[in-house]
């Protein structure tokens, strides 16, 4: 196995450790805690008032635009990081190109701003 994959194997061990630790603690808790469910207890808690309708009621999702903008800017970050790590190799040319790139994205942000998409209505 290559060294690169071996590094990521460690990540898998850490993930398993988290799951094992949580399961272990929850197992201990399950062994010693009481369990006396009744119908009243199992109603969703909404400040003492009986819930009206379903819990999965429709609500206004205001930030789908924000989510779209987020994807755009996150992709931008993916492009910026490799350049940032080897900025000296690309020199002035890379700088100009990257500033242009950042400027275009900033322009996009200002466009969204101007259109009122960043307003929380």
């Amino acid at each position: 196995m290559s060294l690169f994959l071996r590094d990521y194997l460690n990540v898998v061990w850490f993930g398993l450790a988290a799951i094992v630790l949580a399961s272990l603690l929850l197992g201990i808790a399950a062994a010693i805690r009481p369990s006396r469910p009744n119908a009243q207890k199992l109603i969703a808690y909404e400040s003492g008032v009986d819930p009206v309708g379903m819990g999965w009621s429709q609500s206004q999702v205001r930030y789908y635009v924000f989510a779209l903008l987020f994807v755009i800017f996150d992709v931008e970050a993916v492009f910026i990081f490799p350049w940032a790590a080897s900025i000296e190799r690309y020199g002035a040319f890379g700088l100009v190109v990257m500033l242009l790139f950042i400027f275009l994205l900033l322009d996009g942000l200002f466009y969204a701003w101007k259109r009122g998409l960043l307003r929380w209505v």
């Binding site: 993930g15 988290a18 399961s23 808790a29 805690r33 808690y45 819990g55 960043l118």
Partner: protein, 351 residues
């Protein structure tokens, strides 16, 4: 890690040691933060003493709390999506464990030395959103759902300033490896004077501020605690959770605070290192072995200072409204951090 120990350890032994170290690196900061800041500092700021009964000055209170939570009944609402509901706290804890993997604690005391560590940290840092969203959705409670959606919106908005603030550090260090970033800070010099090395907080102060604000928001600590606003949403996505599952959310929150503080101190405050000029070290290979013991202590101290600031802000400020919160991220922090990148790059190329 093998350079530290003279004996050869088989692979499974190394992995076990790493994982045990990881558990300590997650739980120890969490416990310290909760006791020192949440129990004691908050109490003193509110003119009370805090827990005093369990152990001297209530120092055993944490263990008493765990014992208490272990005995609490675990209620799963009848309407809830039970399987996913039970999974959600584990996802949150998982993201913390995956995040601590990347933090270097000394010249050889690291778990994994990724060549693109910054990338990894920022990518894994947002996994906890999934856990929170899942918790909010599966509870089948209107408050939980609102809290989960708010959390998702907030974490998305503050993820970007955080990512962009780090770019300045990467530009200055010329590397995405966290070990390289530590070395670059400690072997650097300020106009030829190398007494304190060159911590990036000096030149990247704007980036540091943006990063810490974003961390505050990512952790949903108080000025940014819209997702769990207790006066509006009971407890947001955690409303339905009780017993030990709630405690796992709670541990996850403060463990993540500790790990983010670790990462911030690596990126901006020089990490585990002492200025290399003090001992005449040239690079990573010259660093003495005792730094593998000293490094974690230095990291722990820096982590306490940073989380102290996070908690101080938490106990001092009122909550932002949802629209103010989004406006602040998109219209203030992102333009500032983009300008910071441009300025840093220009200076770096020109000098």
């Amino acid at each position: 890690m093998s350079a530290l120990l003279a004996v050869e350890i088989p692979y499974w032994g190394q992995s076990l040691l790493r994982v045990l170290g990881g558990i300590v690196a997650v739980l120890l900061p969490a416990g310290t933060i909760v006791y020192l800041f949440l129990f004691k500092m908050m109490s003193f700021m509110q003119s009370r003493l805090g827990p005093m009964e369990a152990g001297p000055f209530g120092s055993m209170q944490l263990f008493a709390e765990v014992g208490k939570w272990l005995q609490k009944e675990d209620i799963v609402p009848a309407e809830a999506d039970a399987r996913i509901y039970k999974l959600a706290p584990i996802i949150v804890l998982l993201s913390t464990f995956l995040l601590v993997v990347v933090v270097p604690f000394g010249p050889d005391a690291y778990f994994v030395d990724f060549s693109a560590g910054v990338f990894y940290a920022l990518a894994i840092g947002s996994v906890s959103v999934i856990g929170i969203l899942v918790a909010g959705w599966s509870s089948a409670n209107k408050y939980s759902l609102l809290g989960g959606l708010r959390a998702a919106g907030q974490l998305i908005a503050y993820e970007l300033p955080m990512v962009l603030a780090v770019v300045g550090v990467v530009i200055q260090a010329g590397s995405m490896n966290l070990q390289d970033i530590v070395v670059a800070q400690n072997s650097g010099s300020i106009f030829g004077w190398d007494g304190v090395g060159f911590p990036f907080v000096l030149t990247q102060f704007v980036g540091f501020l943006v990063f810490m604000i974003a961390v505050q928001a990512e952790l949903t600590q108080v000025p940014f605690d819209m997702p769990i606003a207790e006066s509006e949403l009971v407890s947001g996505y955690m409303t339905e959770y009780s017993g030990f599952r709630f405690l796992i959310f709670f541990i996850g929150e403060f463990a993540t605070a500790g790990v983010f503080a670790f990462i911030a101190s690596v990126l901006f405050l020089g990490g585990w290192g002492v200025p290399f000029s003090w001992f005449g070290w040239e690079g990573l290979d010259d660093v003495d072995n005792w730094m593998n013991i000293g490094g974690p202590l230095i990291m722990f101290t820096k982590m306490l200072v940073l989380t102290g600031i996070i908690m101080w802000v938490r106990f001092s400020y009122p909550r932002f409204r949802e629209d103010q919160l989004q406006r602040f991220a998109w219209k203030v922090l992102i333009p500032i951090s983009l300008a910071n990148i441009a300025l840093t790059a220009i200076v770096k190329v020109a000098v």
